[in-house]
Amino acid sequence: MYGNDVIDPNVPLNAAETAAYDEAAAHVEGRAVGEASQGGFDALIAADQRIEPRDAMPEKYRETLIRQIAQHAHSEIIGMQPEGNWITRAPSLRRKAILIAKVQDEAGHGLYLYSAAETLGVDRAELLDRLHDGKQKYSSIFNYPTLTWADCGAIGWLVDGAAIMNQVPLCRCSYGPYARAMIRVCKEESFHQRQGFEILWTLMRGTEAQQAMAQDAADRWWWPALAMFGPPDTGEAAKGGGHTEQSMAWGIKRFANDDLRQKFVDMMVPQADKLGIVLPDPDLRWNEERGHYDFGEIDWDEFWRVLRGDGPCNAERIEHRRSAHEEGAWVREAATAYAAKQASRRQESAA
């Protein structure tokens, strides 16, 4: 890949841009052979090197990353709610402790990710405003309600399972801060999936009512979990003009939605068997020829409907988040005011 779209040829160069220009020119001349790590954006991408915060980068790359990382961070923060509302009701103290720690992790993941996004020159407060104003999305999965205790198990097992499948490749994302945040996130996520499996495992070996609760939760979360990988983007669908192709070229995305979804199904079917849970898909069967499980058609109409705001909990999630933020405004202002007072007191005593 050659050409460097950071430099707009129509914009006259000034002194401040000389270095960047030299770099681009050097790159175009092909001088960078053997010096890929010193070269421009495209050379770094081509060499599978990481882009770091203050490297020059195409505007679209930066925009795509801000959007994706912010959306990812928002998903973690909004994702605290469906399980968070079970903390006070967890049926045992052990489960309560695990759940608090898990929801805490989600807050932590949100923070790691916001800080990665901030390396791109955007402020967290702005990102939160965009979330609260509905200008940026979060994962649609969290627009479904958690109706029973078993939903905490289903979220850990299915939703976190799907999230890990999506996130592990992001540990190799071309943008350094995002990749490093994801390494930390993935390390912590595996506890989440295991605790979810354990909840369901315990329920499936419990009373009839508990088994029914677990099956019901799996019935409700299976399809939304499959939809988490995003709309089809291989075969015919690849011509639809989604983000996948460009994101893959930039090393932001490493696998297609459909490939990750297939991998997820292949991983989950044996686990469901082990649990004794029947996955709610009559078309689910092993395909010897493909070496994969075939599965039924995902309801993409529902996916788009929920994504566009018409899901069971869209309004509730944003309202909850927004009111926590607004109710906390006076606290944040107080801390800022105190810090300013302290700074001026220090100045006075130094004077």
Binding site: Q38, P53, R54, G121, D123, A125, T336, A339
Partner: protein, 136 residues
């Protein structure tokens, strides 16, 4: 984030130093553009950004772990404890205002780092010595 692959601090704003501002000149405008669609009311400013460095265990250096927001240094340290050492990842924490970090910038990269490339005599492998000399 842990391990040797972690680079030194990345001040999380592109305007951390004047040098950075010019280095980012080609892209700084684009960031402003993408943010331009935010609401009319003056948006709340975040608490200052702090970079967090954690010593994983005794005998190791502090390594950049990430960043966070806090109103002052005391809270930055405590928030760092809750955000970055929940799983015993550290025995010591440093926090530093991101604004206070001065970083080398990409446009200085060549003159900063390339001149070291030809000083290969700084490395022990540069020297030819007989194979059978011990402790050398």
């Amino acid at each position: 984030m842990s391990g040797a692959s972690t680079p030194p601090a990345e001040p999380a704003t592109d305007t951390a130093t004047p040098a950075a501002a010019t280095a980012a000149g080609t892209v700084a405008g684009t960031v402003a553009d993408t943010v331009a669609d935010t609401p009319q009311a003056p948006p709340e400013r975040s608490w200052p950004l702090w970079e967090v460095f954690v010593r994983g265990k005794r005998g190791l250096s502090h390594v950049h772990a990430g960043s966070l927001h806090a109103p002052d240094a005391l809270f930055a340290l405590r928030n760092a404890r809750d955000v970055y050492t929940r799983r015993q990842e550290g025995v010591s924490i440093w926090v530093v205002r991101a604004d206070d970090i001065t970083a080398s910038s990409p446009d200085e990269k060549d003159s900063f780092f390339d001149p070291a490339a030809d000083k290969i005599y700084r490395h022990p492998t540069f020297y030819d010595v007989p194979d059978d000399v011990e402790y050398l």
